[in-house]
């Protein structure tokens, strides 16, 4: 079965795509850090961040609709956590409502916190989408490894990238097999079937793990993993990384001290 790539659009060609994964990773981290430490009231700063990330996205030739859609997929989760903040925050009341027996009031500070959480989450998500859509995952992992991420973590992530769709395929086949023998029944029974499927999937994955390990042993794996270093940090990386970081640092300094 065909699935889309996790790192969809990472095979486009643009100035951004050609940058070293480490540069992009560091830029993303600096960007998120700058966004997070910005005081909520500084809307000018947020406008600047939005401008910056929009510029990066446009430079990388990513389809606008794709980016927006992907960023909106994650927002409901943020919203679910943040939506109650205006109601529980103390402060000047902006409005109060009677819902059946309760009297709820929304405060100004609460709204500000909500806006703060939402805009920061959205900007961070945009930057992460930018990172993963312009960098092939294998390259990103290699970059992370060279930046000092423990090798075990890198291996776990690379197995995830390799096997997630193999597992998804397995689940889809199991569902087809169930549906072709499913003739209705009580909800409880269905739950039991789902439980069995989860168990089966676990056992199959476990056995696959053993076979993969045997395949690694067969090619001389001895518990130490080795790789070739293929990344090179170019001049473009240095200029781009440094200038972008400087803009962000400057903004943060202005935000925090004035």
């Amino acid at each position: 079965m065909k699935h889309s790539f996790i790192d969809q659009y990472s095979d486009l060609d643009s100035f951004i795509h050609r940058l070293d994964p480490r540069t992009k990773f560091i830029i993303t981290l600096v960007f998120i850090l700058a966004v997070i430490i910005t005081p909520p009231a500084r809307w000018q700063a947020f406008a600047l961040y939005l401008l910056l990330i929009a510029a990066l996205l446009i430079l990388s030739k990513l389809p606008v609709f794709f980016v927006l859609k992907r960023s909106l997929v994650i927002m409901p989760f943020v919203l679910m956590i943040a939506i109650f903040i205006p109601f529980i925050q103390d402060g000047e009341v902006a409005g109060s409502y009677n819902i059946w027996l309760w009297e709820v009031s929304v405060t100004h500070t609460g709204l500000q916190v909500l806006w703060n959480v939402l805009i920061k989450a959205w900007l961070s998500i945009l930057s992460l989408i930018w990172l993963t859509s312009t960098t092939k995952l294998p390259n990103l992992l290699q970059g992370l490894e060279q930046l000092g991420m423990p090798r075990v973590m890198v291996m776990i992530l690379s197995f995830m990238y390799r096997y997630i769709f193999v597992l998804v395929d397995e689940v889809m086949r199991m569902r087809q097999a169930r549906n072709s023998r499913y003739f209705g029944g009580k909800r409880l029974r269905q739950l039991r079937t789902v439980g069995n499927m989860v168990g089966t999937l676990f056992i199959r994955s476990y056995e696959r793990g053993e076979r993969v390990y045997a395949a690694m042993l067969a090619r001389g794996f001895d518990g130490h993993s080795r790789t070739l270093n293929r990344l090179n940090f170019s001049q473009a990386d240095a200029y781009f990384g440094i200038s972008f970081s400087l803009v962000l640092i400057l903004t943060s300094v202005v935000n925090l001290w004035y």
Binding site: L141, Y161, R219
Partner: protein, 239 residues
Amino acid sequence: MEEIIRVDNLSFFYPDGQQALTDISLMIYQGETVALIGPNGAGKSTLLLHLNGILRSNGLVKVFGRPVDDRNLMWLRSKVGLVFQNPDDQLFSPTVFDDVAFGPINMGYPEAEVRESVTRALDEVGMTGYEQRSPHHLSVGEKKRIAIATVLAMNSEILVIDEPTANLDPGSKWSLIALLKRLPMTKIVASHDLELVQALCQRAIVLDRGKLIASGATKHILANIPLLAAHGLAPAESA
């Protein structure tokens, strides 16, 4: 002919106590292509896993005269290249390049030599240009070829393949057989695909329920219909 693999009285029990192999003795000679045939669950794969020391048990397995033991493991795995049945198990890296390079890197080749081995191995299986692809997006036939390349990259002298034609359509199957025929090294092929055995192997060994049943020239074994029928390799006699 020079004897390169020797198995003496090999028996193997699964962890749950079930016996998988009983007193297997066989020899493989330099340059030949041997088929290991038998029905599902005959113990073919279990036997293959003994040839490069992934499984070990009582009985003696010798490769090029050296016994399979801890001190020889790395050497052994560079000599005996094992291709697994399911390419999704064999290919575990995010890109084809990483996968084919995995063996050579573990063997401690210098970088230039690793790259050269990968290029050569991919060329031998006709998959040049696939280096940066993700195995997930390849067809089964392509994955099988890459799986073979991962072993060729280690310059193994013995190629051990488990069910090379499983899950392949006839077109991919015959082009894979042609590819295997071109490879010069000693080959051991476990399969119950008798067309493959006939086309590729000079000698055949019949295995059933963990026991060695018969061994001989492929044409004699395949002509012995009662033997094949008795061990699940041909339709039952009465049919």
